[in-house]
Amino acid sequence: MKLLKKEFRLCMHPTGFFMPLFSILVLVPGYPYGVCCFYTTLAIFFICLTARENHDAAYTLTLPVSRNDAAFARILLCVCLEAAQLVIMALFIPVKNALGAMPNPAGLDAGPALIGEGFLIYTIFNIIFFPCYFRDINKPGKAFLFSSTAVFLWLVLEIIATYTVPFVRDVLDAPDPAKAGPQVLFVLVSMALFALGTWYSTVRSGKAFSKVDLSL
């Protein structure tokens, strides 16, 4: 908890506070809503970038903490932002539908399945970004390039799937309240995958960070 508090007070980048608010874009018709998650991953990249510029590792490693804990705290901070983004999105989805739902031609409609999609995007991001970042904390750009490329490929596949894959087209991308049950199940499965993927990422990140030589 002390390390998480330190992350919030010393490492948090201003974009970390407002990028999750971009979830409000679910109110915009015909928008690829999965991109809202990308803005939060961009904030995570900025946090890691400014941590490098502020010599955060040099400070953290003089504290009585292990490298494993330091890596865990950074990932936990990022998971908090990801969760905040999805919560805000979940709050605006009913608003969007109250204002008049219409089919989204650019990916999933604003419905429960969109939250599941968000969990899957963050799972992909976390599995790729953090282990790569903690192998060399001086190169967050490299980790972000790999992870955001994977996220964008996933977004393209998702948009294509809303037209071509029957389950996605007819169940996940359907505004029909009768499909809410399977969509909620999809959210729960995605959430479980997110938890598993992020745990795996944390373990790999901790191992990578423990081995690396830090030129401070």
Binding site: H55, Y59, P64, K211, D213, L216
Partner: protein, 283 residues
């Protein structure tokens, strides 16, 4: 070498290999309540040694003992006792010192707020400033304040006086001597040897990753003499030379004290010893 019982920190056979550089099996001790100067030219291995001691880099061999306890075994507890200050380290430049202090304090149950206040006042530091608003000397003083307030016993200083004006350097040297008076131990890495002449008890001299000297300062200085020589250097002097440097009037030649009797010479300054020994290696 100091006996293990008196050593606060013991480094044993510390080694690290990089492409093109090898830190070779370093062993030395730091006695409690002393200031040890760690000298050597840029790239000699000073920072690699310090980074290995602090586990910022993982050494390929050897171990570091703190009061006889392996660093790896009780890393958290030992870290609490070590204050690390580096001239090149400037963290969270836009955060107020107050914020940095509050976060730092939360990690140390034994934090001494009275010492913190006293030291901040002594160094004329304001909590409302950010590191970006402090001079290099003040940043180092702030880092020392944090280390003191959490009860550090050992201060590892990596080039703390580099880039500072003479007055600021003098102030810091005085601060180091005050720490020593309080029983603190200091490892002071620098290539500004004149700072060490004012405060160091012992000298570690590293060259190309190898420890070439581990002696008390006075003994180290007394073991050499500087001889002024014409150009060319007389053969009998060249035969005992430990390194020579060109001057406008000829050469200065470093010789071991034992070989200096036939020549008229003077005491060697620490910087002269370091420079001449480097020249010997190059020759």
């Amino acid at each position: 070498m100091i006996s293990d019982r008196n050593a606060l920190l013991s480094v044993r056979n510390l080694g690290k290999n990089y492409p093109g550089f090898r830190l070779g099996e370093l062993s030395f001790d730091l006695a409690e309540g002393t200031i040890t100067g760690f000298i050597g030219r840029n790239g000699a291995g000073k920072t690699t040694t310090i980074n290995s001691i602090l586990s910022f880099i993982r050494p390929d061999s050897g171990e570091v003992l703190y009061r006889g306890i392996p660093f790896r075994q009780k890393e958290h507890e030992i870290r609490e006792k070590i204050g690390f200050v580096s001239a090149g380290m400037t963290y969270y430049t836009r955060k107020k010192l107050k914020t940095i202090t509050e976060v730092t304090r939360s990690f140390y149950p034994g934090w001494k707020q009275d010492i913190y206040k006293k030291t901040m006042d002594m160094f004329c530091l304001s909590e409302d400033k950010t590191p970006a608003e402090l001079s290099n000397g003040m940043k180092i003083k702030y880092a020392l304040t944090l280390a003191l307030s959490r009860g550090a016993e050992l201060f590892i200083l990596d080039e703390p006086t580099s880039g500072l004006d003479p007055v600021s350097r003098e102030e810091l040297v005085e601060a180091f001597l005050r720490l020593k008076d309080e029983g603190k131990t200091i490892l002071f890495s620098t290539h500004i040897t004149s700072d060490l002449e004012k405060c160091a008890d012992r000298i570690l001299f590293i060259r190309a990753g190898k420890l070439k000297a581990d002696e008390d300062l006075d003994g180290f200085r007394r073991s050499f003499r500087i001889i002024e020589a014409s150009d060319p250097i007389p053969p009998e002097l060249a035969a005992v030379s430990r390194g020579s440097c060109r001057t406008k009037d000829g050469y200065t030649v470093l010789v071991s004290h034992a070989d200096a009797a036939p020549f008229s010479g003077r005491d060697a300054a620490l910087e002269e010893i370091m420079v001449h020994l480097e020249k010997e290696e190059e020759a």
